[in-house]
């Protein structure tokens, strides 16, 4: 029997005044692994060494899989093996210990060496030496979190990834498309507009982002280069131009157009601008998403009378309905190599909209988000573990996250305005 713990933890990112998002973990798993991240030893005062162990602790805690011991509850703060007494950590019921040393190099860069120990077996599991500038210390810390997470869970870590989202002022007169680290830090606005921006979609290389801008004349699809900021108009047909999704190889974009009368899915090859029509039905067809094989598209269709998820084989044209349970199933995203769908769900009896997962092999639907309201726009982390989505909380639009198994939950409230339309980016190269 899994007993669920309720943690209410406000992780402080106040040091980084620019970060607009904070994270409140609302539910972790009872079987979380006890781990200690000892404050790293730092030689110079300028290295801001505290960043590294703080970020690692927060990453591990936020995953829901770890219970991180506070530094003040530790019996000692070792930095090297000579100072490490496993007996102390067993006494504190810790299973793993992370420790490290930060050195400033002659060129002004920093060298970070860390070690991960198994307390019970009294052995080193992992050691790595990384380097980076002062500005890269958070990135280095996320890399360390990724490695520790993978070593201990067998799943690739996704702490080094980025999240795109849209922020709006309460008057809805200014829309910002922003990119931040997966913990909400280092926010960067990549587009500001008086027009509503939605459906941001990452290219698999993480270098471009597609989105919809709702101008006075209607919706338009753009692709923007993240580093140069250059945006390219992809589609401005009569009617809808919406719901972009990059193919797994990044060469094509699936979009929804209604130029031929009603919303249908099309695929455009970005280099040649050759268009291919995928669906043909008088009902609404929209929200395309590619299967990892690049040969199937899943999409939302209203052809049965209300929105449900369908899958089309692009080679054979074979069409299959995937969702049957519920009054409203829309905007499906894939998790874990396409074994799970994560979608917006409303029960047959009506009621609130929640994020649900559907196990495609077993046909089981599970509601994942029951304590948020008006849930929409689910986006899955590249390791298939977490879903970030938008919800209403205290009359504000906020981001929230839940694990695909429903065990871990956290809220990502914004300090100002509304946040919507999250899109979890790919692994960094």
């Amino acid at each position: 029997m899994m007993h669920r713990l309720l943690f209410i933890l406000s992780l402080l990112f106040s040091v980084f005044a620019k970060a607009e998002l904070t994270i409140e973990i609302t539910q972790g798993i009872a079987s979380s692994i006890p781990i200690s991240v000892v404050p790293f030893q730092t030689a110079s005062s300028s290295s801001d060494g505290g960043v590294i162990d703080d970020v690692i602790s927060n990453d591990l805690e936020r995953s829901g899989h770890f219970a991180v011991l506070a530094p003040e509850d530790m019996l000692s703060h070792p930095h090297t093996e000579d100072d490490l007494y496993f007996r102390d950590w067993r006494l504190l019921k810790q299973e793993y210990v992370v420790m490290g040393v930060i050195n400033e190099l002659a060129d002004g860069q920093f060298q970070i060496r860390y070690q991960l120990f198994d307390v019970f077996n009294e052995r080193e599991l992992l050691t790595q030496t990384l380097r980076g500038t002062k500005q890269q210390l958070r990135d280095v810390a996320h890399r360390i979190s990724d490695a520790i997470y993978e070593q201990l869970t067998g799943i690739r870590g996704a702490f080094s990834t980025k999240i795109a989202y849209v922020t709006t002022n309460p008057e809805r007169t200014r829309f910002n498309l922003s990119i931040a680290d997966s913990d909400g830090a280092k926010e960067k606005i990549i587009l500001t507009s008086k027009y509503s921006i939605f459906s941001p979609a990452w290219a698999p290389d993480g270098k471009r982002i597609a989105y919809v801008m709702l101008e006075d004349a209607g919706s338009r699809v753009y692709v923007q280069d993240i580093t140069t900021g250059k945006k390219q108009l992809i589609s401005a047909n009569k009617g809808l131009n919406s719901a972009p999704a990059f193919s797994p190889d990044g060469s094509k974009l699936a979009v929804t157009l209604s130029k031929d009368g009603n919303p249908e899915i099309y695929i455009v090859e970005l280099s040649t601008r050759k268009w291919l029509r995928v669906t043909n039905h008088y009902g609404i067809d929209t929200e395309p998403n590619w299967m990892p094989d690049g040969k199937h598209i899943i999409f939302t269709s209203g052809r049965s009378g209300n929105p449900q998820i369908y899958r089309k084989n692009l080679e054979t044209g074979y069409l299959e309905r995937l969702t049957f349970e519920g009054n409203y199933n829309a905007r499906a995203r894939l998790a874990q190599d396409g074994r799970f769908l994560v979608l917006v769900h409303q029960a047959q009896s009506g009621g609130d909209f929640h994020i649900a997962s559907l196990d495609l092999t077993r046909g089981l639907l599970q509601i994942l988000s029951s304590d948020t309201y008006l849930d929409e726009s689910p986006s899955v982390s590249p390791n298939g573990v977490m879903v970030i989505y938008a919800a209403k909380h205290n009359k504000r639009s906020i981001l929230a996250a839940v694990s695909v198994d429903g065990d871990v939950k956290f809220l990502v409230p914004s300090k100002s305005g509304d946040v919507r339309e999250p899109a979890w980016g790919p692994y960094p190269n």
Binding site: Y328, A330, L374
Partner: protein
Amino acid sequence: MQNMGWNKLFAVSLLSLAITGCASSGGTTDEAATTDTAMEESQTQAVPGSPDVDVVTEEQAQMAANPLLDQTVIYFGFDRSEIRPEFKDILNAHAAYLVANPQANVSLEGHCDERGTVEYNLALGERRANTVKRYLVVQGVNPSQLESVSYGEERPAMVGSDDSAWSKNRRTEISYQAR
């Protein structure tokens, strides 16, 4: 804003009717021609509330007198896009006006409440605009007078997350671009 503009035009029409008395009873082509001139005049002069827009036919004045024309928002049920019977009189009035005034054109702006997904709502908003468009076309309106656009859930008429706000937001707005 829209309604104010409409009322102003309506008032001007009545006023000019009173001044000029019974105007022409000519054929439809003449009518169209005179109204074209009136449109151009009112645009180029651009004097707010100017009573110079005096060439208005009786038929148009009657049309303008129809209070149903002041109603420019058609509401829908949740996840629905078919026209409810209670809105047919309003749409019939607009259809009659548009048929009688071929120079007039409207933008049909479809909207949704915030529930459900952003993209599905964008598509649903277009459907709401298009069912109104189809209804008007069936009543004889020239499709070239009608432009439909969807704003999905992005431009709510009423802010709020309850039934009263939602019911006000599921709508198609009939917005006259030219009378």
